[in-house]
């Protein structure tokens, strides 16, 4: 059951051959046994999980089960959960218990899922390695001396080690896709506005978007269908009819050429010399496989994509510097024990409460918004953002999905880039443009590089093309088994 898909778990639960309580216990026990090596969880709430599982069993017994009733899951600790610690992996919120559920959390609770706990992350979702956590780094289940990627590294590692079947994440600059790639799981970040940001602690508001990790595109589709939807409390939430993101997966297709007619765009700029050889080999092999499935490939160009790093690392810190101002020690969270006056209280509280990377981005963001610098940095970056979005619009006139690498390399060693933030930022080169344009993106396992480390293939869709992206990933997973490989630790 540890490796079963949601569909298989559903069948077992509905057949009453397995109770939701048994299922939750199975995974809770695994977390207890294995998470000491991975540190994927910040909080595990066994009592609450079992209570929710009992409720799920009651719903199943009463014939009121939905597709996700009784399915265990974990939430990234950026989502507010009523009555359970919500820390954002920060000392600042190490004691914070939210009085309300995030919209995504509420929707998944209403769908009958059983939350096992809250997963580790880079502090306030700032980072690409999960090393920036007040609760210590998360380790990659494939090689515990390596990072799992970030910032949703805890969720990715938990799914990869099968500590939980599915987990939520957030993707501001690649924070779902990159850790999915590095841990060998499937992860999708939908179009900006598909999932409500209400209750998702803001890092960079115009980029932040909830996503989900699972073993397969199918599992991701089932969870995304439940968590997406309009929320009037988020003004950037899109008022669109509900979608069944798994609908295309069930559609009949030519078994030999299920993707006949699909045009895959290959951005010239993604296949230059910015990619490690082992990543390139796996990605190109995956694209060759797509051709066998009936897809055609076409070269497209994203000439401004190279500017996504400077654009993103101006705009996201600018928004963050303002979003994180509320953490001031006045109303909740950490407050310095001793201070001379108000300014001293602010200074000490924030100096003690935030980690180095968060402080770095607050400083950068404050700088680029300052009088005399705003036009040169913030406005300029907004213009780049528009150019990058225009590049995608032009590319999608010639193709249906765009494919490429997720990360230039496989997972690196813990500590390897800790002293060089710019090197760390550069590793986001293939993921940032998607967030700048607000597009949906997905990472699916497509092979292994040196040292048996997973490599992910990135699929980028046009706005609202989540169902198509998931189907394109699903058809590949029907004929490959990369997504079924498990790290030794998980067996």
């Amino acid at each position: 059951m540890i490796h079963a898909s949601i569909a298989e778990l559903r069948a077992a639960l509905d057949a009453r051959s397995l109770s939701a309580v048994e299922l939750a216990t199975l995974f809770l026990d695994r977390i207890e046994r294995l998470d000491g090596q991975i540190n994927a969880f910040i909080t595990v709430d066994r009592e609450r999980a079992l209570r929710d599982a009992e409720a799920a069993d009651a719903a199943i017994a009463a014939g009121r089960a939905g597709p996700l009733t009784g399915i265990p899951l974990a939430h990234k600790d950026v989502f507010c959960t009523e009555g359970v610690l919500t820390t954002c992996a920060s000392k600042m919120l190490a004691n914070f218990v939210s009085p309300y559920d995030a919209h995504v959390v509420a929707r998944l609770r209403e769908a009958g899922t059983v939350m096992l706990g809250k997963t580790n992350m880079d502090e306030f979702a700032m980072g690409s390695s999960n090393e920036n956590s007040h609760f210590g780094p998360t380790r990659n289940p494939w090689d515990v001396s390596r990072i799992p990627g970030g910032s949703s590294g805890g969720s990715a590692a938990a799914v990869a080690a099968r500590l939980v079947p599915v987990a939520t994440g957030t993707d501001t600059g690649g924070s779902v896709r990159q850790p999915a790639s590095m841990t060998g799981v499937t992860g999708i970040k939908p179009t900006y506005g598909v999932c409500s940001r209400y209750g998702m602690i803001a890092y960079a508001s115009s980029f932040d978007q909830a996503g989900v990790f699972g073993a397969t595109a199918e599992d991701c589709a089932l969870v995304l269908s439940a968590m997406a939807g309009f929320d009037e409390r988020d003004s950037t939430s899109l008022d669109r009819p509900a979608e069944d993101y798994a609908r295309d997966l069930r559609a009949a297709a030519d078994p030999d050429r299920p993707l006949a007619g699909l045009r895959i765009g290959l951005p010239r700029e993604f296949f230059g010399d910015g990619m490690a050889d082992d990543v390139r080999a796996a990605v190109e092999a995956a694209i060759a496989r797509y051709r066998e499935l009936g897809a055609t490939t076409v070269e497209v160009s994203l000439p401004n994509a190279r500017l996504s790093i400077p654009a993103y690392y101006v705009l996201a810190p600018a928004e963050a510097s303002s979003n994180l101002s509320r953490f001031d020690g006045v109303r909740y969270g950490h407050r310095a024990a001793r201070y001379a006056d108000l300014d001293d209280m602010y200074r000490k509280t924030r100096a003690e409460g935030f980690g180095a990377e968060v402080k770095r981005r607050i400083l950068v963001g404050t700088y680029v918004l300052s009088h005399g610098y705003y036009d040169a940095y913030y406005l300029k970056a907004q213009k780049l953002r528009r150019l990058i979005a225009d590049d995608f619009a032009a590319a999608f006139a010639r193709c249906d999905v765009i494919a490429g690498p997720v990360s230039p390399t496989t997972a690196w060693k813990i500590g390897e880039k800790s002293d060089d933030p710019v090197q760390m930022y550069l590793s986001d080169i293939f993921t940032l443009a998607v967030n700048l344009a607000g597009l949906p993106g997905l990472s699916l396992p497509c092979g292994f590089g040196a040292g048996e480390l997973p490599v992910g293939l990135q699929l980028i869709g046009n706005h609202f093309d989540e169902a198509r992206l998931l189907n394109v990933a699903h058809r590949y997973q029907q004929v490959t088994d990369w997504h079924q490989r498990r790290p030794a630790l998980a067996e």
């Binding site: 989502f79 507010c80 919500t86 954002c88 919120l93 914070f96 939210s98 009085p99 309300y100 995030a102 940001r197 209400y198 209750g199 998702m200 602690i201 803001a202 960079a204 508001s205 115009s206 009037e232 409390r233 988020d234 003004s235 950037t236 600018a318 928004e319 510097s321 303002s322 994180l324 101002s325 509320r326 953490f327 001031d328 006045v330 109303r331 909740y332 108000l342 602010y346 404050t366 918004l369 300052s370 009088h371 705003y374 913030y378």
Partner: protein, 491 residues
């Protein structure tokens, strides 16, 4: 130097611009559903959004926008089809998010003008004050520095209350003009029902930008007097500030740009902060809110719901009722007076408008003033006054009997003028025979006066009229008495 020695204190021109914060009359806050009612227990009207819990998001209150549109239409301003909310970033304990949501580069209202009437009597003059802009923003909470034993308390009930900040051009040249403008604005926002104008509760707060210059010279350096919450303080603060600036300049000093506070106890202004320690607010568009779009349909809808504005009503009173400019201006100084007057005229008939005006501005105003009552709470209703006016106009009673009837109505001792006239037998005697009989008696009993009149003493005639009126207990129609008496005396 020579110039300043040569010129006297009267050779200075005062330049004043006002910024007014008008609290809008919405039931709930501008970005949350919490109540805006005044006077609740501290922090009882602060929602998760108002206290800026992690993860919460603002949603714009349509009612606040509707009120901004009303204001824009009322002053003939440009109502922006697209305006933008921006974050104004600074740290203060009563500012929960660490930023205030306001509008910066693109305000909802720009331009427009208000005509003011300055001074009394023959020296009175009209002037047009141009407005720069009006923008929507949220109020901050309150810091309470008493009763907390060396600590400060924070009350966030006011946090998120909708404000319209109304900024004038520096068009005013004296404290009298500034007060006249503030009063006109105060009357207008109440007239169009967007602000209750309660200055004690802080619903209408003025900041005055004051500078002095040599006539025709460049603008002087301004100082901003903050938070003036009465018209008297506005006048006193400006007068003090102007004198201080002139004294400073004539003593060879210079004015530093500064924000100052007015102390009503000393009547002086003192510096709160100078330009050097001014905040860099790092304004940028709020990524949590979409641009505010106001289409023509919305503007038309608001326009259709607008009451007749004071300027239009004043012109109509002059045109339709033949009132003088002074009467029309007085009757439209507040919506309550205008509404009362209009109701009285509607009931008494347009032909009696002038009599209605005299009563509203005369006896009624005097009695209300003496009793310290608003016209809306007048014991004599507009319908009752109209009934009284009609009986005077149709000669049922004289003007002086009218005053008795008015007193009776004021004291609540009668439901209508007709009822009182009937009950007290106040109906004017117009029966020629009855009047002739009374006159005959008076002529017979006052031979001396008759003699004097015939000898050319006009005064004696008045004495005889007085005797007739006395005999009729004031009820004889004075015009008829005059006419018959003259005939009988053979004049």
């Amino acid at each position: 130097m020579n110039e300043s020695h040569a010129m006297s204190r009267t050779d200075w021109e005062v330049v004043i611009g006002l910024e007014v914060h008008a609290q809008l009359t919405t039931a709930s806050k501008i970005f949350s559903g919490a109540s805006t009612a005044f006077g609740a227990e501290p922090n009882r009207q602060a929602s998760a959004v108002d206290i800026a819990l992690p993860g919460v998001l603002p949603v714009l209150n349509r009612g606040a926008v509707e009120r901004a549109i009303r204001f824009g239409l009322a002053i003939g301003a440009h109502v922006a089809p697209k305006s933008v909310f921006a974050r104004k970033n600074y740290f203060y304990p009563d500012l929960p998010k660490g930023y205030q949501i306001s509008q910066f580069e693109l305000p909802v209202v720009s331009g427009g003008a208000i005509t003011i009437r300055v001074g009394e009597g023959e020296k009175a003059y009209e002037k047009t004050v141009r407005l720069t802009r009006a923008h929507l923003e949220e109020d901050a909470g309150k810091s309470l520095h008493e009763d907390f034993h060396g600590m400060s308390g924070i009350d966030l009930n006011r946090a998120g209350t909708p404000l319209l900040e109304i900024v004038s051009e520096p068009d005013m040249r004296s404290s009298a003009e500034a007060v006249a403008y503030a009063r006109a604005l105060h009357a207008l926002v109440r007239w169009i029902d967007i602000c209750d104008g309660n200055m004690q509760e802080g619903s209408f707060r003025c900041d005055a930008n004051v500078s002095v210059r040599r006539p025709g010279g460049p603008l002087g350096t301004r100082r901003e007097i903050k938070n003036l919450n009465s018209f008297r303080f506005l006048q006193q603060a400006i007068d003090y500030e102007v004198q201080w600036q002139i004294d400073t300049l004539e003593d060879g000093g210079t004015i530093q740009q500064a924000t100052v506070l007015f102390d009503p106890d000393t009547g002086e202004t003192r510096v709160m902060r100078t330009k050097e320690d001014a905040h860099d607010y790092r304004y940028f568009p709020d990524p949590d809110l979409l641009p505010l779009v106001i289409d023509d349909a919305w503007k038309d809808e608001v326009a259709a719901s607008m009451p007749e504005l004071p300027a239009a009503m004043k012109a109509r009173f002059m045109e339709q009722y033949g009132l003088s400019a002074y009467d029309a201006a007085t009757l439209t100084a507040s919506r309550e007076v205008a509404t009362y007057f209009q109701a009285a005229v509607d009931a008494a008939g347009a032909a009696n408008a002038k009599i209605c005006a005299n009563w509203v501005m005369g006896d009624l105003a005097a009695r209300l003033n003496k009793a310290d009552l608003d016209i809306a709470d007048s014991p004599v209703s507009a319908a009752q006054l109209a009934g009284l006016v009609q009986r005077i106009a149709d000669n049922t009673i004289s003007n002086s009997i009218g005053k008795k009837v008015f007193d009776t109505l004021w004291n609540g001792e009668g439901a209508s003028a007709d009822e009182i006239i009937e009950a007290q037998g106040l109906k004017q005697v117009t029966d020629t025979g009855a009047i002739e009989a009374m006159i005959d008696e008076v002529i017979a009993a006052n031979a001396k006066s008759v003699e004097e009149f015939r000898a050319g003493k006009e005064k004696a005639f008045n004495a005889l009229v007085g005797q007739v009126m006395k005999a009729s207990r004031g009820k004889a129609n004075p015009a008829q008495v005059n006419e018959i008496l003259r005939r009988k005396l053979g004049a």
